[in-house]
Every structure is written in C-alpha cells, then in structure tokens.
Symmetry: C2
Subunit: 335 residues, 2 copies
DNA sequence: TGACCAATTGGAACCGGTTCCATCTTAGCT
DNA sequence: AGCTAAGATGGAACCGGTTCCAATTGGTCA
C-alpha cells in the first residue's frame, strides 16, 4: 500500500489539510466534531505523518545527537547508557556519532552542524576547541558537554584535578613515597581530564614535599595492553614504584595483569588505584576513584532537554561528585 | 547567517538548480567547466545540502536503525560496538532504539516502519513475531536480525542449542551429575536463545541417561543480583547441584558471588560455566561458551548494507561459531 | 549541406508536511 | 437588529532538495 498523505486524510474526512495538520499537532483550535472525523479518517487510512516532510517544513528534526569517542571504551558506554535512558523517555530519537579517528572529529562536528541533522547535541569526553565552539554558537545548536569542559558551553563535569589529588593522596596516606602515574598521552588536545588528573597527582606529591620524577610518568595510547607494557617499563626501573595510579580502571587492569606476569603481588608488593569505577573494577576489587558515569549521561541529557526547551543566557555547569572507593589493590608498602 | 540553499548556489554560479543538484550527486553528466563553477559557488557560500529536504525528495533517509533490548546488557553493547564500527565507515548514520519495556516493543517497531524513519533496520536479540514480520515485509524495509531468528528474515545467528549442549557436556565430561541451569524466563516470547540453550542442556542430560530435575532449573529476570538469589535457592536444596550452567556470563558472576557469600569454593565445591565470553568473564577467569558478539554486529551490519544495495530474493543466514573457553571455574566434582 | 544524435542544461513539478492569511460562522453585547 | 470579536476552517505558499522533460548546442555522418 502506498502510504497515505495528509491530503488523503483531508479528503476522506471532508476537511482541509490545514485542519488535519492542526489535529495532528493538537493544541490548536479544532472543534470536537471535526477532530473526531479527522481522527476517524486517520485510523481508517492507517495514516502516520512522514517524518522527512515534517522535518523539512517545521525545521525540527526531533533528534538528539551524541558525539562519542571510542565507543568501545567502557566508561563512555556507561555514560551513553545514562543518555539513552533519558532519550528513550523523551519525544526525541538518538543518533550516534562515533569518532574513532581524532582526525575525523572536525568533519563530524561540521557535518552535524551545517546539515541541521539534530536539534540538540551531546559531546562526550571530547574537549572542543575554541573554533569548534564558535561553529556551534554560529549554528545556534543547543549543546551540552559531558566529561569535557569549555567556559562557553553548558556541561556536566567532575573535578578531575581533585580526583587525581585524592587518588595520589590515598597512596601517600598509606605511606607510599614512590608513586607512578600511567595515562593516555598528556598532549592530546581533546583529552583534558588526563592533564587535570596529572595536575592533581603532582599537587599531592608537592604538598608532601616529594619531587616529581619524570620516569614515574608513563604515557601511551589508551588501553589494557598498552598499560601492561607501560607497567613493565615502570617495574623494571632501578627504583621501581611501590604504587601506581592509573588514569582509568581499564589501565589499572593492565597494570594488575603486568604485575601478575612478573610475579609481583598486589597489594603487598605493589598498590594500584584506578579511576572511574567501571563494573570490572568492582568484580576485580580494584581500589578506584568513583565518578558517576551513568549519572553524568542522565544529567547531561536532562540539561540538554532543558536548554532546548528554553535556551539559557548563561552556560550551566553541573559538577558531579567523586569519591574514593577502597578495595583490595591498595595497602601500605612493606618496607 | 541564514544557510544557503541550492538556489543561491545556482544563482551565484549562473546555472540552473538542476545542474547544482547534479554536481552534488556526482555521476551524472555535467561538463568540467560547469562543475568547476558550481563547486566554486558551493565553497564560497559554505553550502551544505539540507538533509531533511534531501530525504523528502529522494525518499532515502541515509539512516540505519538498531532496535536493541536493554542497552545496559553487556552482550548487547558488544554487538552494538560491532555495528557501530561498520556504520561509521559507511555513508549511513545510526539511530538507536532502546526497548526497555517489552510492552513498548511493538510501538517502536510500528513507528519505525510506518514513518519511514530508516532505510534499513537491525533487530538485536529480539525475536520477532509473525505479525512483526508481516509488517516488515509490507513496509518492504530491509531488515537483518542479530541473535534472533525467523525464517522469513535475513539473520546472523549462533547455534544456541548446541551451545547449551556443549556447556552441559563439558560439565558432564568432568564428572558432574547434578547440574543446574539458571536462566531468564523461559516463556519470554522475544527471547528464543534462552529456550534453545535449555534444550541443549536437556539433550546433553538425556544423552548421558540423566533425568531432568525441575528444581535444578531456576528462572527469573536477567541480572547479576537475580542470579545470586537463584543460586542461593539452588544451594540450599537437600541435594544441591555440584555444577551450574548460567545462561549468561552476567548471571555466572552472580552465581560466583552467591557461592562466595555462602563460603562455597569455586571450582572445588561448585563448578560454574557461563555463556557469551564478555570481557568480565576473561577478567574473572570464568569458563564459558564464547560466541562472537562483536563479530555478530559486524556481520549483521554488513549483511544489511548488502541487502540494502541489492535486495536478495531469499533471506540469508550467517551462522557464527561458538567455542568452549576453559578457565578456572570448572573442575571435576570432589566426591 | 542537412538530418540526426548525444551531451549538456534550465527549470517546473513534486515530495508531504506546516503555517499564515483570508473567509465564514456564531455567540455576545448594546 | 446590528455590530464586533473570537473561534473554526480552507487552502496557497513554503521548506529545500531531486527528477524529469524539453530545449539548446555541437559534432558526426551520409
């Protein structure tokens, strides 16, 4: 069956197309009787308005976009789950843009902006440049950052400096004095948390009067295997660290595996603390800094819906709490 | 800036709108010189074609839909990651429909079909009813099932009966004779794997001359906590099982936690085998049946793209292999 | 040289909604 | 009774692309 159009409905109901449109969009003035007739015609023809046409004429897409980096990253997935839970209960649909290659990030953003693909945009764990922000503002697209920061955009963030500080402080409090940090590349322009946590790490060290030892900071691509390699580097040094702060739980798992390989006991010989509190951290009893991943998605999406409904003059910031979760991978050093 | 339209481009380039459209869609006959002029005008005006308009006039949405149940389920996430990896490298965008409530499943499907929201549809882990299939065929929407089965639709599947058989056989081969199965509700019409694996379980038992003991089958909502409760039920029986086959790794984790609570040692006192081989199974060294989750998403999406490009008269079936992964949660029974 | 054909191009019609404006009722008020 | 205002309705114009048809141009061949 060729799908019915609004004109078919109008004809069948004996009214004009404008009236049918009014019935479809409720709220406007249509008499009871007319509405009844139109609804009857609609159900008789099994009519459902064509989305593309509706979008073109109304200028609204009824779609929210989510720009995510590395959809394979468990913390990103968790945030997305929060987003999905909110979108599912709204009138919007969700379109997913996965940025696997940082070089293609721009392309995506511009594409989304210029083609009016979405009514609102969530950017996850990708710090936008000033140029990006300019583009966004020019396009007047409601946008919310989740786990990324920019003064000109609304955002849901966590105090990563404090998180890095807290993780390091925990190790210091246990008595460790040789504390390493393994992380993603510090100079990744789109990853600001990696720098913030590093800052917190150094603050805690400085506060205790410890010097920062460059050899104790290893950086590389994100991932379990990469973390494993970095850990081996660390543990083969003349004075190996007695504790390792990993930028993410995923990396902490790599650290643990490397230690296992080398016959180094955790937490007796080596303390490990991660970050994020992904599910696997719970299974493996990894001490970590919990951040509200799922909730960040929920809040981010709720904030976006608000901004879309009535644009706010000032960008909003929602700060989510973090918390040390002590489990079984940290303990005082032996000597 | 009000975004430029194709007519603005036409005017600036001194050509007709048809010509601009031809340039945009390549392949048709446009002279070198004209093409150059048009492209110049396009870049000068920073023009990008409006998607809604393109969709309306061409009838193509350039969007693929993915209908998934419980986006929080790790195996579903893994499949989706496979899908995303393929979609990202295609010209299509991905729209995600998360069905949290089974009752709303129909609503989603009909909505997607009738409003021509997508050019192709992937249905993950949701077995469609005959009525659903009728609707899909009526709408002539290219559709591929992933981890779900229906003879009239193309699909990517795994032999779940064999999987259940293999898991149970592994336990039998180790010498177990009291083997329980914990699973989702068997009568969930949209979850056929749960029944298939159960069938395999019973086949293996029967083949060994063992009777099926109803008390050894526990069913309930999917989840770690629910699995924990079911395990406690099992282990408190007069003759508790010496081995448990869990429908999913997530449930196997619940089983392990319950055993830990009760001071029951794994694998010495209790063997546990899961299904799926999600990442956590690797971390926790759970013996399981590996199915190619990520690959199922990849193949499913590739198959869909094929079907969309040139519709096939016959529905295709791709059967992915499964494999026993022996780790540390299964061993021979003590007595 | 004239007929014919292919390549190129312009632009109207169309996709199926929304929206605005003009028109027509009808009730309310003096 | 006459006038006004509010409510209901029809339908043209519009959103911004694609596509088809007709027209123009230039080249080829007999």
């Amino acid at each position: 069956m060729a799908t019915a159009t609004i004109r078919d409905v109008a004809q069948k109901a004996g009214v004009g197309v404008g009236t049918v449109s009014r019935v479809l969009n409720d709220n406007v003035s249509v008499s009871q009787e007319t509405r009844r007739k139109v609804l009857a015609a609609i159900s008789e023809l099994d009519f459902s308005p064509n989305l593309a046409a509706r979008r073109l004429s109304s200028g609204k897409t009824m779609v929210i976009g989510a720009l995510v980096p590395y959809f394979t990253n468990p913390s990103v997935v968790r945030r997305l789950q929060g987003i999905v839970s909110v979108v599912t209960n709204s009138v919007y649909d969700l379109i997913l843009f996965d940025v696997e290659l940082v070089e293609r990030r721009d392309e995506y953003l511009l594409n989304v902006l210029r083609r009016q693909m979405v009514d609102g945009l969530l950017i996850i764990s990708l710090t936008p440049t000033d140029t990006d922000v300019q583009h966004i503002q020019q396009a007047e697209l409601p946008t919310v950052l989740v786990d990324a920061n920019h003064p000109a955009l609304s955002r849901v963030v966590v105090d990563n400096v404090f998180g890095g500080y807290q993780a390091t402080k925990h190790l210091l409090d246990l008595g460790h004095r040789h504390i390493a940090y393994i992380s993603d590349y510090l100079d990744d322009p789109f990853n600001s948390p990696v720098r913030d946590r590093f800052k917190g790490y150094r603050q805690a060290l400085a506060e205790t009067g410890l010097e920062f030892i460059p050899e104790y900071h290893q950086q590389g691509p994100h991932g379990r295997y990469e973390a494993r390699a970095m850990t081996t580097n660390l543990l083969n040094q003349p004075t190996p660290p007695t504790a390792i702060f990993a930028y993410s739980d995923t990396q902490a798992i790599g650290v643990i595996e490397a230690a296992l390989d080398l016959g180094i006991k955790i937490p007796e010989d080596l303390s490990v603390i991660g970050f994020d509190n992904i599910e696997a951290a719970e299974y493996l009893h990894i001490t970590t800094i919990r951040q509200a991943l799922y909730e960040s998605g929920v809040s981010g999406c709720e904030l976006l819906l608000q901004v879309m409904a009535n644009p706010m003059p000032e960008p909003q910031e929602i700060l989510l709490p973090i918390e040390l979760v002590q489990r079984n991978t940290t303990a005082p050093p032996i000597h």
